[in-house]
């Protein structure tokens, strides 16, 4: 076959093949640890994609996205726990709450530049973590256990209505796959819309964007609202997947950092980057953990940290840049006039630029 994979048709073809492979995936692996790894890959791919909308496109580095994740998880779980509301309803409610929270809090935050902004987002998530840990209404540090949906024979059963699958874990996979596809679709739409162009203009030079009439603050707020809403939806999914939440599992700093890390290692500001990052990083972390941490030691952290250092040092623009390097080499031998690059998102901050 002779299709250029970078052309419009080529990209759709790749996406379609990948999607079919993803849909068929559970048929080959059953319900074991591979399925769990796949669920986590899709979860982090979606979370990183959501981070990317604010952090990658608009260049506003948040290290506090766990706050939105936690809000999503807690909103649906409290609704379910107290009033028996289905998580399917809790999910959009959580997304709206998270988006409203994000807009209210980030409205002042967006005055802050660079590291001050990043540290403010850390502070925000940490405050939320401490408040939830001491808040009796959400059962504090003990967390909330979601009760099983039981069948007529009193055994835990599957329920699409309450997003809970106890007999086979496979439906969880399809739910998270759906969410991830939704997150990617959101990112693609944002990337190609006026919003996306405005966000990239803001990232490249905020002053210039403003002087050209881009309402900088408004578009940053739209970006954070979308990012928060998508992140919160995954929070609801995660709560149903574990059937237990507490402030530590849903809001800790490591989660915020991992979300950003997946996007950055993949390559920020592109739609493919976060997917690539999740595909590489999450299985690696799962495999090292199960292979190495099982024996009681923590070599997995060592490997993981070492790998992050290596990528940052030798591939500072993320894994997608590896492809770019080969492409550039290929283009160097291509005849002039054949350089129709379309819609390439610029990689974050070329040397010398400050975000």
């Amino acid at each position: 076959m002779n299709v250029d994979l970078r052309s419009r048709t080529g990209r759709w073809l790749v996406a379609a093949v990948a999607l079919v492979a993803l849909v068929l995936f559970p048929l080959f692996v059953g319900g074991g640890s591979w399925l769990n790894t796949a669920v986590l890959v899709l979860l982090y791919a979606g979370l990183a994609q959501a981070w990317n909308i604010l952090g990658g496109f608009a260049g506003q580095v948040s290290l506090g996205n766990a706050a939105f994740f936690g809000i999503g998880a807690y909103t649906s779980t409290v609704l379910l726990d107290r009033w028996n509301v289905s998580p399917w309803l809790g999910m959009p409610v959580g997304a709206i709450v998270a988006a409203a929270f994000a807009v209210a809090v980030f409205f002042p935050f967006f005055r802050l530049g660079g590291h001050y902004f990043a540290i403010a987002t850390i502070a925000l998530a940490e405050i939320l973590l401490i408040l939830f840990t001491n808040w009796a209404f959400v059962r504090g540090a003990r967390g909330i256990t979601i009760p099983f949906v039981r069948g007529p024979d009193r055994r835990p059963t599957d329920s699409w209505a309450f997003l809970q699958f106890n007999e086979s874990r496979v439906p969880y996979y399809y739910v998270v796959l759906g969410l991830a596809v939704l997150a990617v679709a959101t990112a693609v739409v944002v990337e190609r819309s006026k919003l996306g162009y405005y966000l990239r203009a803001i990232k490249n030079d905020q002053q210039a964007a403003r002087s050209l009439g881009v309402p900088v603050l408004r578009y940053k707020l739209i970006a954070v609202a979308i990012s928060a809403a998508v992140t919160a939806a995954f929070g609801t999914f995660y709560a149903q997947y574990l059937l237990f939440i507490d402030p530590e599992t849903t809001m800790r700093l490591e989660l915020s950092v991992l979300i950003a890390l997946v996007a950055i290692l993949g390559g920020v500001g592109t739609v493919v980057g976060p997917l690539l990052g999740a595909l590489v990083l999450i299985p690696l972390s799962e495999v090292t953990r199960s292979q190495l941490a099982g024996s009681g030691n923590t070599l997995d952290l060592v490997l993981y940290g070492g790998l992050i250092m290596l990528i940052a040092a030798f591939q500072p623009n993320g894994l997608v840049a590896i492809g770019d390097r080969f492409r550039r080499r290929r283009e160097a031998v291509r005849p002039a006039g054949d350089e129709t690059e379309r819609g390439e998102a610029p990689l974050v901050g070329a040397p010398g630029t400050r975000n």
Binding site: V61, P108, F109, R111, L112, G113, G114, H115, Y116, A118, I119, A120, I122, A123, L124, E126, I127, I130, L131, T133, N134, L253, V257, A260, L261, I264, L265, V268, N297, T298, L299, D300, L301, V302, L303, Y304, G305, G306, L307, I308, M309, I311, A312, A313, F314, P316, N317, L347, V348, G349, A350, P351, G352, R354, N355
Partner: protein, 294 residues
């Protein structure tokens, strides 16, 4: 409310604040020099505390006696970090810089857990804890000797650092590089060497802090995480790159952490939430921090 209780809280807050300031000054020094935040700073502190611990358990040296060695080791660690990792990412995007040092932190924490397990350890009868029964009473205020010593040492370290940066030729060269890398190198200053020195000094400050903290704090692989988080807040509060800012902000953070629960009568469980909230309020009023230039 009881005046003595408040006084006690203020004194304790200032003492721990000095230690926060000392940890933060290392961070701000490095940032002022090259605009990189060292996210492995907490792990540097953790290693310094383990150095003090093993000095005691293996060699029988009190943390105060082994402090020069600890500081020397940390200086070396700082220089090695610069040479091995940071010099490669000087011109990389900010995100890559964040994650390079963050990865280093994970790496060091993993190593510590692997070799020394995640058990909580403490230094056996440190000399300072035995001094004068471990406590000093001034009026109704009772303060621990190790805490007082920690604050005094932090003050001395600050003074030494200030004199070095402000008075010595090398210190002036450091400032020149921080001001304008290109012009400084035209004046014959080797900026690469200055950067290495900055990392060494930044880590050495943590070495002092780690040695004294080891006398009254538990030692475990993730002990640095909380301190690093507070150091980030402190540095941003004082203004990235500002040495006096780190001192003032450190004292403020210490005060807010210890005094506010006493003063407003809420549970100490919320103390860090108040510290973080305090940071947000200050920085929203002054987006460049208290003393920041950026």
């Amino acid at each position: 409310m009881d005046g003595d209780v408040l006084l006690q809280a203020i004194a304790s807050g200032l003492l721990i604040g000095m230690v926060y300031a000392l940890i933060s000054v290392g961070l701000t020094l490095i940032f002022g020099l090259m605009e990189i935040v060292n996210f492995a700073h907490g792990e540097f502190l953790m290693l310094a505390m383990y150095a003090a611990f093993f000095g005691r358990s293996l060699l029988g040296l009190d943390p105060m006696l082994s402090m020069p060695a600890t500081v020397g080791l940390l200086f070396l660690l700082g220089v090695l970090t610069y040479r091995g990792l940071i010099s490669r990412i000087l011109h990389a995007p900010m995100l890559a810089q964040i994650f390079a040092t963050f990865g280093l932190g994970l790496f060091l924490r993993g190593l510590a857990q692997f070799f020394w397990s995640s058990d909580f350890r403490s230094v056996q009868d440190p000399f300072l804890a035995g001094l004068s029964g471990g406590n000093v009473n001034v009026g109704a205020v009772s303060l621990g000797v190790p805490q007082i010593a920690a604050a005094c040492l932090a003050g001395l370290a600050f003074l030494a650092l200030y004199l070095f940066i402000d008075r010595s030729r090398t210190g002036l060269a450091l400032q020149a590089v921080a001001e304008d890398r290109a012009t400084a190198s035209l004046m014959g200053i080797n900026s690469d060497r200055m950067f290495a020195l900055g990392w060494g000094l930044g880590a050495a400050c943590v070495g002092i802090a780690g040695a004294v903290l080891a006398t009254f704090y538990y030692i475990y692989p993730s002990v640095g995480v909380v301190f690093a988080l507070i150091a980030f807040i402190t540095v941003a509060l004082g203004g990235f790159g500002s040495v006096p800012g780190a001192l003032v902000a450190g004292l403020l953070v210490g005060l807010v952490e210890v005094v506010s629960p006493t003063l407003f009568g809420f549970s100490p469980a919320y103390k860090y939430a108040v510290v973080f909230g305090f940071y947000l309020v200050v920085v929203l009023v002054r987006p460049q921090g208290l003393f920041g230039r950026f």
